[in-house]
């Protein structure tokens, strides 16, 4: 394969950006969900029923 270094760099960068953003979004959602469930019992019930459905 020609230009392998450039190809690896391009794909590696894409995977890195996608991973960083996905992990950040996932972690932020989890943090917000836990915090909301801790201060609002209604939210906790709705998250529990959501988890049961999925």
């Amino acid at each position: 394969m020609t230009h392998l270094t450039y190809i690896i760099a391009a794909y590696g960068l894409t995977v890195l950006v996608a991973t960083v953003f996905s992990v950040d979004a996932w972690a932020r959602m989890g943090r917000a969900r836990r915090k909301l469930a801790a201060i609002d019992p209604r939210a906790k019930r709705s998250f529990d029923s959501e988890a049961k459905r999925s």
Binding site: L13, R28, R31, I39, D40, S46, S54
Partner: protein
């Protein structure tokens, strides 16, 4: 004047406000998000494998053409992401849609990342083909301007103590920046650029074979679903964070009053 009529949204925006309910949005996005995320991951991986190992190399560019499978979808999303920012800005300024504000604030960083990716992968493709990492050509420069517009939006939305003022300023900037979208699209036709003109068009016949076009479409669809999943996940988090702030403020006010 009757207060209830004064705060009723205009008729065209009434249906939109059905989705402004945070609980309804969380329920709906909770169902859609896993499907969109799986589609995004699956299609992108399939497109990458096809593009890297099964699609043919270009007779002139050799294997460097495989960078196209990440560069072109990133470029498409940089532009369509900005278009979604413009739509959210209109929804925010005209109908004061509260979810549009939150979505716009979350589209900004994701769009900026895809634009940076488009510029970086373009650079990695340009170096072996043109002999330069960067040229001040109309297409590259207009995409760089798009990147700065995204960064400006991200900064402006967070620059005010009152979030509403930040959202409004960001929406105005996004609308002004929309003029850059046709410039990006037609830059290769209006000016003599080093960047090639569009290979795939909706009207004319394509200069690319299906063995290259199919993985490109797969990657483009995968990137699109990935973008939607990221924005949905971030907006869900933002809705919950706003609810947390509201609840904590209400508790603090109750404690002050007691």
């Amino acid at each position: 004047m009757d207060v209830s009529t004064a705060i009723t949204p205009p008729p065209a925006g009434r249906n939109l406000h059905r989705f402004a309910n945070p609980g309804r949005f969380l329920r709906l996005s909770g169902r859609v998000l896993p499907v969109v995320a799986v589609l995004g991951l699956g299609l992108t991986l399939a497109g990458f494998v096809w593009g890297l190992f099964f699609a043919p190399a270009d007779w002139q560019q050799g294997d460097s053409v495989r960078i196209m499978y990440v560069h072109v979808p990133a470029a498409m999303l940089a532009e369509s992401g900005y278009l979604s920012l413009v739509v959210c800005s209109v929804l925010s300024l005209v109908w004061r849609h509260p979810l549009a504000d939150l979505a716009a604030a979350e589209i900004g960083p994701v769009g900026a990342a895809f634009t940076a990716l488009c510029l970086a992968t373009g650079s990695l493709w340009g170096k072996p083909m043109w002999g330069a990492w960067w040229v001040w050509d109309a297409r590259l420069t207009s995409v760089l301007v798009l990147f700065f517009l995204y960064l400006g939006h991200v900064a402006l939305v967070r620059a005010f103590d009152d979030p509403q003022r930040g959202y409004r300023a960001g929406a105005i900037l996004a609308l002004i920046g929309a003029v850059n979208l046709p410039i990006i699209k037609f830059s290769v036709d209006w000016w003599n650029t080093l960047h090639q003109p569009a290979t795939i068009t909706l009207t004319g016949s394509s200069k690319m074979g299906w063995d290259m076009k199919a993985p490109l479409f797969l990657c483009a669809a995968g990137f699109f679903f990935g973008f939607v999943a990221l924005v949905l996940a971030r907006t869900r988090a933002a809705v919950m964070e706003r609810r947390i702030r509201g609840l904590l403020m209400a508790r603090a006010q109750e404690a002050d009053a007691a």
